[in-house]
Subunit: 473 residues, 2 copies
């Protein structure tokens, strides 16, 4: 069963030079399939010996139900715990649900290096127990604090040193960003991009890819994982190709202008957007708190699942994992399993020739400051009915020619089981009103990215959509 991960490394220079002539550096070449990527990916897939099996909670090694609280916890007291979150609100009532409590801060890091003047990004073929297709494309480093303090006795996290100040690179992006507020309690990761100029020893699970490759890979179902998308959102990784004629596509021209700083061309000034966000936060009267799982109401627990009585939300399940190329060869853990594919859609429209994105300020029980900016329309799963949500109809009935991005992508496979979301970027119909309900706001891409330099403004689904927008060139 065990496959020893090869310790052989290549010098990045020679490795990339060898593949470079076949990599996507021009529009023409990029239009070809990605043979070297495909070969590598196929190879990694064959090497990925891996099995995931759903098991009753009592068969989860090292996990126990804590007496008194009923929380699902690890015996070491680390990793994460399944607990409860309670929301109390005068306007929305009181309710509770299970939540993953992992309030430590991990690192999602992407290395960038230029080869032949073209930026390349170091990605990893990584297995996670909840992944659709087992293997997905991760950033260079995806490390929990437990990973890098080595609670589980695993191996050193590869390439971590570049993100801990030890590799001599230049930090381009470094900010704390939240993750799923519907399923996590106060979970956030440090999203980093570091540029290196030195050679980087290349392990066989890793590969340098260009922006052009990434933009194509983002269009492949369940391939580019959530962590990669989250980091990619923080930078305009795909610049418009130089030979795109200016008149080719008014939508792309408007998108291009949307990356520029405001010069009277945005619907709202930066101060107005900050003030709107502050107002939305202030108006929300949710008080959220972590509670024992035993205190969660209207959920039932069997030996193999914790699920809401209405069958609309999600299930917590247990899995046993056997693998050949992860840090250790067998472990088990709880996962959150949503009920069917979710939806996250941005409506976009061009105002004075500048693309604007319609964000919604929405409260979620698990994000640290309760309200963040999310997609125009969002469903966490198929059973999360949202037909009366504003703009639901516009998204559901969008003219296919106006759907600019439409791919099913996965959420974090380390904590969620087959959590898939359909990501859509949709061009609103001509003459779409710019007047929107109070909790919605039209922002330019530049404005959204300015917020993204700081903590807790833009939620994880909106950040995934932003990565998709970047890929539209």
């Amino acid at each position: 069963m065990t496959v020893v991960a090869g310790d052989e490394t290549w010098r990045a220079d020679s490795y990339v030079a060898a593949q470079f002539t076949r990599s996507a550096v021009s529009e023409d070449r990029a239009a070809q399939p990605l043979p070297t990527f495909g070969e590598w990916w196929e190879d990694r897939r064959r090497a990925a010996l891996f099995s995931v099996e759903e098991v009753p909670f009592r068969e989860l090694d090292g996990w126990k139900s804590q007496s008194g609280s009923d929380n699902l916890v690890h015996e070491s007291g680390r990793f994460f715990a399944v607990q409860g979150v309670r929301v109390e609100s005068e306007t929305h009532g009181t309710w509770s649900q299970p939540v993953i409590n992992q309030s430590e801060i991990g690192i999602l890091g992407l290395l960038v290096r230029e080869f032949g003047g073209v930026p390349h990004f170091l990605v990893q073929a990584k297995i996670e127990p909840g992944n659709v297709n087992t293997l997905q494309l991760s950033p260079s480093v995806q490390a929990t604090r437990s990973n890098y303090t080595r609670v589980h006795g695993g191996a050193d996290t590869r390439y971590l040193k570049y993100f801990r100040g030890g590799g001599g690179g230049q930090v381009l992006v470094d900010s704390l960003q939240s993750e799923q507020g519907a399923w996590f309690w106060h979970k956030r990761n440090r999203n980093m991009v570091v540029r290196v100029t030195e050679d980087v020893p290349l392990h066989e699970d890793y590969r340098w890819v260009t922006a052009q490759q990434l933009r194509r890979l983002l269009g492949v179902e369940n391939l580019v994982n959530m962590d990669t998308r989250a980091v990619l959102a923080c930078m305009r990784f795909a610049a418009p190709p130089r030979h795109l004629p200016a008149h080719d596509d008014p939508y792309l021209r408007a998108l291009c202008r949307s990356y520029d700083p405001v010069n009277g061309t945005a619907l709202h000034t930066d101060v107005e957007i900050l003030s709107w966000h502050t107002e939305m936060r202030t108006r929300c009267d949710w008080h959220t708190s972590l509670v024992p799982l035993a205190e969660v109401r209207n959920w039932r627990r069997s030996g193999s699942a914790i699920e809401d009585e209405e069958g609309r939300s999600f299930r917590v399940i247990g899995v046993r994992v056997r693998t050949g190329n992860r840090e250790i060869n067998q472990w088990s853990q709880p996962l959150i399993a949503p009920r069917g594919t979710g939806l996250a859609a941005f409506l976009t429209t061009s105002v004075h020739g500048v693309l604007h994105v319609l964000v919604r300020a929405r409260p979620e029980p698990g994000v640290m400051d309760t309200v963040e900016l999310g997609p125009t329309v969002r469903r966490t799963s198929e059973t999360d009915v949202a037909e009366d949500e504003p703009f639901h109809a516009e998204v559901a009935a969008a003219d296919p020619r106006r759907v600019r991005f439409d791919t099913v992508l996965s959420e974090e496979g380390g904590r969620f089981h087959h959590a898939q979301t359909r990501y859509q970027v949709i061009e609103a119909p001509d003459g779409f009103p710019t007047e929107v309900p109070d909790d919605f706001c039209w922002v330019t891409v530049h404005q959204l990215m300015a917020l993204l330099k700081h903590r807790h403004y833009v939620n994880i689904e909106a950040r995934s959509l932003l990565a998709c927008l970047h890929s539209l060139w």
Copy 2:
């Protein structure tokens, strides 16, 4: 005992016009004492019939010790509560202390209006039970959520409509900012500045003052209150006088340049500062949680005070208040009473002709994201010994000619009893090293103010110091 607050109002235009010839609009005139301000203040002082009396907890009307938790709470379940906070850290151990829990969001709002081309700020002579000198200078609006939802049946909060979108003004500043992390749990207020062009009816407790007046008033002990300083920090309210000769004072020239955007003149780029802040937050392993007051260790409770056994921290006391010009005429409440005057000092130095301020990333139990940027040196009270703190000696032994600001000012009198802090802005000696310990960072004023547009970067003491810096012209 009761004094009825006059309902007479003036038209701002005529009122300000009448005082305008005597207000500080030029350097020469400003060098005179402030007769009209002084007369108004004296008048307000005479009208301020007010008494504060320390009473045992059992005599606090409407307040009770909650059974089980021992928390000091109001019977309505609102206002605030005295509870406990516990900090658990592998590096700093575990400890707990009392804390004021008031996690709702209030508004601190300042109205600005130009008269004769000169911006004026609407300030209020406001009584608070914990104030040194009873009366201090507050912003136009200082409202808790309880105030404006009127839990206590008080009167409408004056001028609130301008900050709730009802006055037609222009929002210049609107951000959530934390307050004392040593004494509050997750307390923050919405700091707002709104510019109006219409007439504003003027109540006798309010007055329009110029920036020049404010900068002088900031130098008066215990006059400009914490909330006013917090809002003033968010804008460069005092511009350098036009006739200040360029060569007058190299320190002021460096300060002036420090307000400009970075052009290779700052020691650190904006990305470096954000990354440093993220690293400081990530490195801190404090887990903070709200706990019942009954679970706080090493504090003792008598009928009239809750205090730490070592007598080094602070006391929680109860007071009964009688007043003639507050919303209601008698109430009682707990207050936190620190032991003697605290200290907050900025070391500053000129690098390439640009003033830099030395901030320290410091964890505090009560701020929402644990780590914010604070003063170079900070003591919460006289008994908070900090002799081994970096730069303590440099501040304590500063050459008086290099102390640019040095005034004792008060913290929030609505929650703290006679909480005074000595605020100092100090010019570091020539040749002072720019290499500093990891948790310190030299930033320009522009960089600090850019962070201040967003939540929870700059703590309340650093913001007070920033207001003092603005006043140095």
